[in-house]
Symmetry: C2
Subunit: 188 residues, 2 copies
């Protein structure tokens, strides 16, 4: 598999004011009550096929711990897909498909993931997004904007301090009022 | 004219990471170099007709001073449309269609603007947006997202501290990679 085939995509679901989580970590806001007539309907089949196209997830320890917390009342959000948690901490992991990594991020991509996978998703948080962006490791950004202003919470982007030109690849509006924007990063 | 006909719209052009201006106030980033094939082309005629539908602009003193600064090298961005600058400061105004207002914002809308205008645009900055949102005076939010990550600058939203449910009304993607999202504010 050539390295051209490999793609690292940042994906996050965000409020219009740029928050990816509430301070109390509640997630009911993710179920919108909105209805957008011109929007696309998402069937479970389409959604399942889409999720299956993701080979590997990367996340920070905060995102991981949030997912663990949620898995006590809901399903584990990342299924059986290989998941790499970037952390210097000694996290308690009891899933065979979850691996802790604390080394160099460029090496992780170039030496461990690039030859093995095609479609890797970085799902947060903001600090890790910033670090991957700084290292020019990101190919695409996929943002799903929900029709809500949260007013407070954990921001999607920390100040990156650096400018990046983007190329709009696709825009999809859904029946539930969610808008998905897909960008590739220019001059990567 | 009934008060139902009146609409206060927040409008801002923002980077994907939520900035409306760079720290050095340069504006060349507003001219994208992106090209989105599926996007809509904007003709000058359509744009002129659209701008003519705006009856009045409201802005904070920072936004005003930035516009004055820009008008030294470009045209004054708000034309002959009545413009109200919210400020406690003694600003130097030399345009007959620009008026300074320092009083109560609800009174401004309900006593001065609602019976006179239909389509009023609040064009920033973040502090004023927050204040109008807090007072439940806003009907719509129109955000034009440019295909760029600025990494730093003046944010679109200050933490509003309050949740607002939105209704997605329209999504338009343009040939230059700009995506315009139009929301109304629920339970206003």
């Amino acid at each position: 598999m050539s390295s051209e085939a490999f793609k690292l995509t940042i994906h996050m679901v965000s409020s219009l004011d740029g928050f990816i989580a509430k301070n109390d970590n509640s997630i009911s806001w993710l179920d919108t009550t909105d209805s957008y007539e011109k929007g696309v309907e998402v069937t479970n089949d389409v959604n399942d096929a889409f999720l299956k196209s993701i080979d590997c997830y990367i996340m920070g320890s905060g995102t991981y711990e949030h997912a663990v917390e949620l898995s006590k009342t809901n399903a584990w959000a990342y299924g059986d897909t290989p998941t790499i948690v970037i952390s210097q901490r000694n996290l308690n992991v009891n899933r065979s498909n979850v691996q802790i990594y604390s080394g160099n991020l460029s090496k992780l991509i170039k030496e461990q993931l690039e030859h093995k996978y095609k479609n890797v998703w970085l799902v947060g948080g903001a600090k890790l997004v910033k670090e991957f962006m700084r290292l020019n490791l990101v190919d695409e950004i996929r943002i799903s904007i929900l029709p809500i202003l949260l007013g407070d919470g954990i921001p999607f982007f920390e100040n990156l301090r650096k400018e990046h030109l983007l190329h709009l690849q696709d825009v999809t509006a859904y029946k539930n009022g969610m808008v998905e924007l897909l960008y590739s990063i220019k001059n990567k």
